[in-house]
């Protein structure tokens, strides 16, 4: 077990898969000479060379589109979108091409493709650069959407994504890159579409993922001081969505709070809540609560931005409301 950062974990996953498989290559803005704007691919250009670490023009549609084409020829491209906010500029190719080609042509076309994109707010980047629109991508069948919250999951899930024969949108969070935690030394992978209990408890269930896992764990620590033990389920994948661990936990606690960073309306929490009610109706002891972003474009001003984002206190408060 080594203690490494999320950034190192993702970097290692890419490095190891590129070492293991010549067909794996990276393309995106500033992934090469610059070393990745978040330094995730630092050193890759010198080691793997310009053929396998490809700096692209600023043209998201052709970054994803050409990755799709390369995947169709049997390669395993990892396309990096500098941030998920720029995924709108590649929307057609993510949700209408990558997500549909395999199905639409009767299974003839296979797309072993990964699209990495970093998202999240909290860095005063303003409305266009601070989004967590994960849910809109998770809405599309044919696409797999993964969003890890720990270094261990990030490394294992990215390796699994690269080896998968389906298009995977791999969502990272800019304020998690520094997070440090233990990661197995073995050449492990983590299956896509499996939620995970990240903390044991019996009083209430918190369902969350990505950055909000960190917030939820902090909330859990505060709640302990008041004798409240929450169980935390990390979705890790948004599509396929694995409700099993969520339902199991809920049947034990009978209370749930869903914590997501994105906007509340039509968000991740709505689906998870609806599913719990559908599949564990008789176990519901209190209305399920959702903690999410206020419904405004994120402002630049730090105080306002923090007001809009879910805080530890919001989670603590919501948990107490369901008890």
């Amino acid at each position: 077990m080594a203690r490494i950062t999320m950034r190192e974990a993702i970097s290692q996953a890419l490095w190891e898969e590129m070492e293991a498989d010549q067909n794996v290559f990276i393309l995106g803005e500033e992934v090469g000479v610059w070393g990745g704007t978040y330094a995730v691919t630092k050193g890759f250009y010198d080691h793997f060379g310009p053929e396998r670490v490809r700096d692209t023009p600023i043209a998201e549609a052709v970054i994803v589109g050409s990755a799709i084409g390369a995947a169709l020829t049997g390669l395993r491209p990892v396309a990096e979108l500098m941030t998920i906010n720029f995924a709108y500029s590649a929307m057609e190719h993510i949700v209408n091409e990558a997500a549909k080609l395999h199905y639409m042509f009767g299974g003839q076309m296979v797309l072993p493709l990964v699209i990495r994109a970093v998202g999240g707010g909290g860095r005063q980047l303003g409305a266009t650069h601070s989004q967590t629109p994960d849910v809109i991508f998770a809405h599309f069948p044919g696409l797999k959407v993964v969003a890890p919250g720990t270094p261990e999951d990030a490394k294992g899930l990215l390796k699994e994504s690269i080896r998968s024969n389906d298009p995977v949108l791999f969502i990272e969070h800019a304020t998690l890159y520094q997070v440090r935690d233990e990661v197995p030394d073995s050449n492990y992978t983590v299956p896509i579409g499996k939620s995970k209990i990240q903390r044991q408890g019996q009083d209430a269930t918190i369902v969350t993922y990505s950055k909000m896992l960190e917030i939820s764990l902090k909330a859990a620590d505060q709640l302990v001081e008041e004798g409240i033990e929450v169980e935390i389920v990390d979705l890790r994948s948004l599509r396929p969505l694995d409700m099993e661990p969520v339902l199991e936990s809920f049947k034990k606690t009978n209370r749930a709070v869903i914590v997501e960073e994105g906007w509340r309306s039509y968000g991740i929490g709505a689906e998870v809540a609806a599913r719990i009610y559908e599949e564990a109706f008789d176990y519901v002891d209190a209305p399920i609560r959702r903690v999410a972003q206020k419904e405004v474009p994120l402002p630049y001003n730090r105080t306002l931005e923090q007001m809009a984002l879910p805080q530890v206190e919001d989670v603590v408060k919501a948990v107490k409301e369901v008890l």
């Binding site: 290559f25 053929e51 490809r54 692209t56 023009p57 043209a59 549609a61 052709v62 994803v64 589109g65 050409s66 990755a67 799709i68 084409g69 390369a70 995947a71 169709l72 020829t73 049997g74 390669l75 491209p77 057609e92 190719h93 209408n96 091409e97 080609l101 395999h102 199905y103 639409m104 042509f105 009767g106 299974g107 003839q108 076309m109 296979v110 069948p141 044919g142 797999k144 998968s164 024969n165 389906d166």
Partner: protein, 319 residues
């Protein structure tokens, strides 16, 4: 070119024509659903072009794809069956007219979002370049597709990375009801390639041999490692954009004028005049095609529907 080759080209053009005339009929009868975009009038373009591609060269086009599919070697049976949405169709009945493909034949579809397949084509060319073979990707699209951003991003990247892709614009002079001059800053579409310093040319698309010759040179250029090439092929769509087009945007005189330029008629005249074949031989060939198309319809109509469980197949890859 020997007689056999000439006859094969003629055969393909007639086959496309008859398959589509029958498809139009079946559409009226409600046996074909969705959108149906006929290639009638443009047969010389893909027939001439695809006739000079090597089997390992990839072909990708837009939704007006029946002709290209047939030229790439997909049987009239599989095309018909796909139009009828049958399990025996090229795309197993899931794609329909706009989404015909057969990757075994290196035909990569059939794409219905205007211009969106150009970035994908650039990527296939990248895949071949990465794998250091000398395959060429042939990407066909319409004049209207040259105004969307995908076109720009794909052409720019193909030049920057020197990708082995042949860009082929089928300029049939309208994007639905909008003539080139009302949608494009330049009338000679190939002028756009100048913005990327991609070598380019413009040829007549009603003469299959002219197209074939141009295709040969263009493919040679790309295969030799010189990077992308842009070919504008001027043609005309005899029918509406798709079935049920009011055609308010053009005069019937204009259509008639062009129909006198029927690519099949031009070629037939040439073959007879050059004594490559007699009228009788060509008539016999056409009879054979008629029979083949009837068989194809027969096959398609008697083919099974996809099984209900197919609805959930192919959403994700299954080993």
């Amino acid at each position: 070119m020997d007689k056999r080759e000439h006859f094969d080209l003629y055969y393909q053009m007639v086959l496309i024509r008859l398959v589509e005339e029958e498809a139009a009929r079946l559409y009226q009868q409600g046996k074909i659903g969705g959108f149906l975009h006929l290639y009638i009038g443009q047969e010389a373009v893909s027939t001439g072009l695809i006739s000079v591609r090597k089997p390992q060269d990839r072909v990708i086009t837009a939704y007006r794809d029946h002709g290209v599919a047939i030229n790439c070697g997909i049987s009239s049976k599989e095309v018909m069956a796909e139009l009828l949405g049958k399990a025996t169709g090229a795309s197993r009945g899931k794609g329909g007219s706009m989404h015909i493909a057969d990757v075994e034949k290196n035909f990569w579809g059939g794409h219905a979002i205007v211009g969106a397949h150009l970035p994908i084509a650039a990527g296939m060319a990248l895949g071949d370049q990465y794998q250091k073979n000398d395959n060429v990707t042939i990407c066909m699209f319409g004049d209207g597709a040259t105004n969307i951003g995908y076109f720009h991003e794909a052409l720019n990247l193909s030049k920057v990375w020197n990708l082995p892709v042949l860009w082929v614009c089928e300029n049939n002079q309208y994007g639905m009801g909008t003539s080139v001059d009302r949608a494009s800053a330049v009338l000679d579409i190939h002028q756009k390639a100048e913005g990327y310093q991609i070598p380019n040319s413009r040829v007549d698309g009603m003469n299959v041999l002219t197209v074939r010759e141009a295709g040969l040179q263009a493919l040679e250029h790309v295969r030799s490692g010189k990077g992308p090439y842009f070919l504008e092929i001027v043609t005309y769509r005899f029918r509406g954009h798709s079935m049920g087009d009011p055609e308010r945007y053009r005069q019937s005189e204009e259509v008639k004028k062009w129909q006198e330029n029927d690519p099949i008629g031009i070629y037939r005249k040439y073959l007879v005049e050059q004594k490559i074949g007699t009228a009788e031989e060509l008539d016999r060939l056409e009879e054979k095609v008629k029979a083949e198309v009837e068989e194809a319809i027969e096959f398609a109509e008697s083919s099974p529907e996809p099984a209900p469980e197919d609805l959930f197949k192919h959403v994700y890859y299954e080993a």
